[in-house]
Amino acid sequence: MSESGLELRAIHKRFGDNHVVRGLEIALEAGEIVALLGPSGCGKTTALRMVAGLETPDSGTITIAGQTVKSDAVDLPPEARRIGMVFQSYAVWPHKNVRDNVAYPLKLAKNGDAGARADRTLELVRLGGMGDRFPDTLSGGQQQRVALARALVAEPKLLLFDEPLSNLDAKLREEMRHEIRVLAKQVGITSLYVTHDQPEAFAVSDRVAVVLDGVIAQVAPPREIYAEPASLAVAKFVGRLSILEGVERTGEGRARVQGFELPVTSATDAQSVVLGVRPEDVRLADGGIEGRVTRATFLGERTELEIETLAGTLRADVGRSTPVHGGGTVHVALDGGRLYATPSH
């Protein structure tokens, strides 16, 4: 078994009547990057803040790199947990210049050449030579790099990211998520990354943990999360999904809907099932399920169709040159899908 980077066991947290985190459990290997992905209010940020020691769990155990930092008997304050954290609002101190911001953790650790090491870390995040600038002269992206350098500089055991990119514009966001991953891997540091943005979670992490209602619904590598969601709720949150009813199993890995058979995977043993279909698995064909196009939206690189069928509404991605208009009748073939237990209402 490989070395442990971070372990959360049976974490509970209530704010008044609101039971935000309900027995959350997760384990990260040393050097692994895991994204906590979930809708707002699911408890992911609270979980992260409890790891940092900024919130106190009602119960549960937190272990960072083999050292228990929170249990019934132990409660280390944030400054004793040997972590680095990057905040959504950057939290770069306006009264210190860039170098003093980055050098701060080293100064607290009584490190002699704090300034020089801060400068080296600034070069790592491509801010070399900017040490004397003050934060109010930096762009949002540069401030976030300062925050990143500050989190990295003291070689912490664990890096925590709290929606670090959500204040940046779309283009910068894509660039930064790549950089964050490369840096974390280069330094080899265990990282926990909170986001509500699915592409960001996929791009940054080795594994994605989907958090729903205060518990981890599924932890898996991005490909697996997308292709084999453990439940309908996970499937709905990760990417776009259409749900068809009136589905029956016809054999191992096969199912029939509206008289047409298709290859499927299954998330359940239940008899009563629905079929979850990704838009890219739907294709226009000469024969197949009949439906009426209720909406055609041109999005640039593709056209998204909404097709009403007897089994339910399907979303389909078709090429941008496909000549389809709202109101017309089409036939679609399904290249794959996944069976889920029929949700109880």
Partner: protein, 549 residues
């Protein structure tokens, strides 16, 4: 627009001209009054005392207010959020109480010979007459300025700034030193300026506790007052000369503090409104709580209850026997009733006047850029002028009757000395800044598209203003009315220079009763003033809470 022209004319007449009169008088005959006054050792001493007083008050009130702000805003010293809120409200209560009432209370408690504290201890261990006592009373009256400013800047600061320091390895004390204090430093500098100016311009407290001390201590404001009581043209010129010194001192202090506050202004807009994690006081929690309770009891509860109790104590010799005899005596006097009626009328009229004028000026400032900026400066600047200086200016400018005769028939006469009109002018000029500020903030919140939508719906300019703008700004206008009316109810500094035989106010009545050394009667009036002030303060807090929801 004609309203705007009227407002400008009124400001020129009632704000600019009186200040010009101070200058003209002080600099008459090649500056003879000013030079004569500057040569007086007494003037040097008053100036020196004022600076020492303001320095001490600032030096004590700023750390005190900032510490209280931090405890209230950032620590777990409280049982619940309700207690936190209630403590915050209690600690700002002195703002609602006129400082000279606190001085009265402390005079009763700490008179060197027969103060209550000395009588209880049967030994003369404390004497609050003199500079020390004045400093202490002004500190308890002014620390709430600092508390409010620092609390506001703490609650505005992004909690992540402090959390980032925790995760970087700093303990709570390091976070306080390295992050929290630097973040609130600009607001502390601004508040320090406010306190310094407050102490420089203070009149009631230095007069009550200073001019009867042995030896008496005089300050710029009280020396000016002494000149006016001596009477005569020469003495008034001397008062004007000293008023210039006072104005310059307070102006310099303001300039210095706004320079300090702006030098490294660190406005941080919080990205995410997460609640800041509270500093755990641990074993210190008990001491912090005890300290808070002791402070609130000594600085707030003790003086206020002393006043109420003195008004009920049957006689000085028998402080234990309670009776309403003083209340009956005082309330039966016609002058008491008259003074309160005057104060209430003055407060209501000034409040209404300022609320409306403030809206007009703020609106002008928005519509016409350059003219508006000038008018809104004229309207806001007098607040920074010490009340004593304003009052001297009004005395000099309006000592005569002015008649404007149009076509030999219609006569407009302006005769202000000894009338309520003079007091309304003084209060209005002093507090117009509150009206402008409130209306300005409200107007800035209203997006132009709201009024534009009314216009495109078919409303004319006046109709659009009445239907859309007025309903939206009315809460702010009402708030300005209350904020102005409350201090007017108990105003002393200007009233004491401007009131006449028939325009006694609550403040001046109290001042006279205290000067005639009739503590029980003064306590009755003071209890009434405090009661009205606290009720008004309570109502205005309710009002502002409703406005923010």
């Amino acid at each position: 627009m004609s309203i705007g022209v009227g407002a400008t004319a009124a400001l020129l007449l009632f704000a600019v001209w009186p200040l010009a009169a101070v200058l003209r008088t002080a600099l008459a005959d090649g500056g003879a009054p000013l030079l004569a006054e500057l040569a007086e050792p007494g003037a040097h001493e008053a100036w020196f005392n004022t600076l020492v007083l303001a320095g001490w008050v600032t030096g004590l009130a700023v750390p005190l207010g900032a510490t209280l702000a931090w405890v209230v805003e950032r620590t777990d010293a409280f049982v619940s959020e309700r207690t936190r809120g209630a403590t915050g409200a209690l600690l700002t209560l002195p703002l609602a109480v006129p400082p000279y009432l606190l001085a009265m209370a402390w005079a009763l408690l700490g008179n060197g010979r027969n103060g209550l504290l000395n009588r209880i201890a049967s030994a003369p261990w404390v004497d609050l007459y003199g500079l020390d006592g004045i400093v202490l009373v002004l500190v308890t009256a002014s620390y709430p300025f600092v508390l409010l400013a620092v609390r506001a800047s703490l609650s505005r600061a992004d909690p992540a700034l402090e959390e980032a320091a925790r995760t970087a390895g700093a303990g709570p004390v390091r976070v306080l030193i390295d992050v929290t204090i630097p973040l609130v430093l600009p607001s502390m500098a601004a508040a320090a300026g406010l306190v310094f100016v407050f102490a420089t311009a203070a009149f009631g407290v230095p007069y009550l506790l200073g001019s009867v001390a042995s030896p008496p201590v005089y300050f710029l404001t009280t020396r000016i007052f002494r000149y006016t009581t001596l009477g005569g043209e020469d003495m008034l010129a001397r008062a004007a000369a000293l008023a210039i010194v006072l104005l310059a001192t307070s102006g310099l202090a303001q300039a210095a503090s706004s320079w300090l506050a702006k030098r490294r202004s660190t406005v941080q807009v919080s990205g995410k409104s997460s609640r800041p994690s509270l500093v755990r006081l641990g074993p210190l929690r008990f001491f912090v709580r005890a300290g808070l309770a002791l402070f609130a009891l000594t600085a707030i509860v003790l003086p206020l209850s002393t006043i109420a109790w003195t008004s009920l104590a049957k006689s000085f010799a028998e402080p234990g026997t309670l009776s309403f005899v003083h209340w009956n005596n005082v309330l039966a006097r016609e002058e008491t009733l008259g003074a309160f009626v005057h104060s209430i009328v003055l407060a209501l009229l000034t409040g209404a006047l300022v609320a409306v004028l403030g809206l007009v000026v703020a609106r002008m400032a928005k519509v016409t850029r350059r003219a508006g900026a000038v008018v809104s400066f004229l309207a806001s600047a007098p607040y920074a002028v010490p009340g004593t200086v304003l009052a001297i200016g009004l005395l000099l400018a309006f000592s005569l009757e002015y008649r404007v005769i149009v076509a030999d028939r219609v006569t407009f006469a302006l005769y202000l000395p000894g009338t309520l009109g003079l007091l309304i002018v003084a209060y209005g000029v002093k507090y117009l800044a509150f009206g402008v500020r409130g209306a300005r903030a409200a107007l800035d919140q209203i997006h132009p598209s709201l009024e534009e939508a009314a216009r495109t719906s078919g409303a004319g300019p006046l109709r659009g203003t009445v239907d859309v703008l007025l309903p939206l700004v009315s809460p702010a206008v009402l708030a300005a009315f209350v904020v102005v009316a409350l201090p007017c109810l108990s105003e002393l500094t200007m009233s004491v220079l401007l009131f006449g035989a028939h325009t006694q106010t609550a403040g001046t009545l109290l001042f006279e009763l205290q000067s005639y050394a009739d503590p029980p009667a003064a306590s009755v009036v003071a209890t009434l003033v405090v009661g009205i002030a606290l009720v008004g303060d309570f109502l205005s807090r309710r009002l502002s809470r409703r406005r923010t929801t």
